[in-house]
């Protein structure tokens, strides 16, 4: 069975120089799509990936990453909406390049689909009541 997941990798400073992603490809036969990357030598790095492959290879790949000291988070935890602050105005809808926001036709409430979010952060500053939060 094939799986495809969007994950956030947090690299400790000593790991940023290592070819982690190429090993995922070479050793585990996984494919990847980089959604966002922030990696500088000697500093804590961040990589947002869509990682795909067979379930057992995917699990092995994730095990390898974890053992290498890389912290893995699921992507949806990274941009979150503070529901107490959101006013459902809709200023975010057209700003999002991934169509993660949509309007529920009956109530006209703004829905946020975590699975579509690519963690670009454009909505964070464009949100008038600052309800979108970026967590790393």
């Amino acid at each position: 069975m094939n799986v495809s997941r969007r994950i956030v990798l947090h690299f400790p400073p000593n790991m940023t120089g290592q070819p982690v992603v190429s090993r995922l490809v070479k050793d585990f036969g996984l494919t990847f799509n980089i959604l966002r990357a922030s990696i500088s030598p000697g500093q804590e790095g961040l990589l947002v990936l869509e990682l795909s492959g067979e379930q057992k290879n995917y699990d092995k790949g994730v095990k390898y990453l974890t053992e290498a000291g890389i912290e893995i988070q699921s992507l949806s935890q990274d941009v979150v909406r503070d529901e107490s602050k959101c006013t459902h105005c809709g200023a975010c809808i057209t700003v999002c390049p991934a169509d993660a926001f949509s309007v529920e036709p009956r109530t006209r409430k703004v829905l946020f689909d975590h699975n579509k979010c690519v963690v670009c952060g454009l909505c964070v500053k464009a949100c008038p009541p600052r309800a979108m939060l970026l967590y790393f």
């Binding site: 006013t87 105005c89 200023a91 700003v95 006209r108 009541p129």
Partner: protein
């Protein structure tokens, strides 16, 4: 069948008034006809919840010992400068004020994370606010410095006074240029990348009484989660704007000046707001009850999004240069469909004003009236109408000759 406000109030007192929202009245009028609907319905409630920059609060903080004259001095609330050009301990906190050391648009686009609107929201939420003041000192007000916490429950008065709210219609903002524009209508993507509008449409107060036949000076309203009043027509009030056959303005038209006791308002209905690259403001919740005095009034309240047109304006060139050109007109029904056509291109739409919150306001007001807690008021003076000849004039600059 004409009813009076006194008769409607009598029914409200008895808990027998029939109250519906400006959204629900549409279906009722369609099903039963306007004549029957007008007989059955006593009040239609409206609502709007959008950024309204001409908002602010007058505060009287009480006299310190020894006394200080803030008037003519410098005063900050949570680092936000407030206006002091009034009496000793009165100040005016404006929604768009920002800290002296905010980088503004120096690092473009500026974030404007905290301003006067945010202080108003925190004040209403009952949070302590840091007041710092420097004054020049007088014989009767000797003190020159003051640093203290203040709280809305301790200060003498806190009065929300917004000089322009609840705009009757507004532009649909687009950007035809090659680069992103950061505006008070949100982030506008280049080459007609999006279109932003800002109104509750069929629920918005002034769309439901297009000729101001019931809404006037003195009308009691829902304001910021509490009770307020219409104080005057708002600034830039422009009743002479172009109108459709149904009487509904097709351009920005009437506005309201509103006032109310901030102490009984709620932070969820006065929300500090940040517009990227533009500034800070306050998102204000307003709801106006419309007494159904006649079939004509009912007919106005049955207006739908499809009946309301708004102009599409380019905010990269036409708006900043004050050119009158528009790129066409579009109905709110089209805007709410998620996409409109501009110059042959499909343009996705977004809103600055919250429709779900407008619905909530109309329902809260409905509940207040149904429970007999909120009686309607007779306007003490009308808002200037079409016949007044009043228009919103642009500034005509004149050279200063010594």
């Amino acid at each position: 069948m004409a009813k009076t406000i006194a008769e409607i109030n009598e029914k409200i007192r008895k808990g027998k008034a029939v109250v519906v929202t400006a959204e629900d009245v549409i279906g009722i009028a369609k099903e039963e006809g306007t004549r029957r609907a007008a007989q059955e319905i006593d009040v239609v409630t409206t609502g709007t919840f959008g950024p309204m920059c001409s908002s602010g609060a007058f505060l009287n903080i009480g006299h310190s010992k020894p006394r200080i004259k803030l008037g003519g001095g410098k005063v900050y609330l949570n680092d936000i400068p407030v206006y002091t050009g009034i009496a000793a301990v009165d100040v005016f906190l404006g929604a768009t004020a920002i800290p002296d050391d905010d980088p503004r648009n120096k690092f473009y686009p500026g974030e404007f994370n905290y301003g006067g609107g945010h202080v108003i929201q925190e004040l209403v939420a009952g949070k302590d606010i840091v007041l710092t003041a420097a004054a020049y000192g007088t014989d009767c007000y000797p003190r020159k410095k003051l640093e203290t916490l203040i709280n809305i429950k301790d200060i003498n008065e806190a009065i929300l006074f917004d000089v322009r709210n609840a705009y009757q219609n507004y532009n649909v903002a687009v950007n035809v240029s090659e680069k992103v524009r950061y505006t008070y209508m949100g982030v506008l993507k280049p080459k007609l990348g999006n279109a932003n509008y800002s109104t509750a449409g069929q629920l918005s107060p002034l769309f439901n009484d297009p000729y101001y036949k019931t809404i006037g000076v003195g009308t009691k309203i829902f304001l910021g989660g509490g009770i307020g009043y219409i104080a005057w027509h708002g600034t830039q009030h422009n009743p002479a704007a172009l109108r459709g056959d149904n009487g509904v303005p097709r351009r920005g038209a009437a506005t309201l000046a509103v006032i109310g006791d901030l102490k009984q308002m709620k932070p969820e209905w006065l929300v500090g707001t940040s517009m990227l690259g533009y500034g800070c403001t306050l998102t204000v919740g307003i709801g106006v009850p419309i007494p159904i005095l006649s079939e004509e009034i009912l007919r106005y309240t049955a207006v739908t999004d499809a009946d309301i047109l708004a102009p599409i304006v380019d905010y990269s060139e036409a708006y900043p240069q004050r050119e009158p050109d528009i790129l066409g007109e579009v109905s709110y029904a089209e805007l709410k469909s998620g996409s409109i056509k501009v110059q042959g291109k499909d343009v996705p739409t977004g809103s600055m004003s919250s429709y779900p919150k407008a619905v909530e306001i109309a329902n809260i007001l409905k509940k207040w009236i149904e429970k007999g807690e909120f009686l309607l008021t007779e306007a003490v003076a009308p808002l200037p109408g079409v016949e007044s000849g009043l228009t919103s004039k642009p500034l005509k600059e004149r050279p200063i000759v010594e």
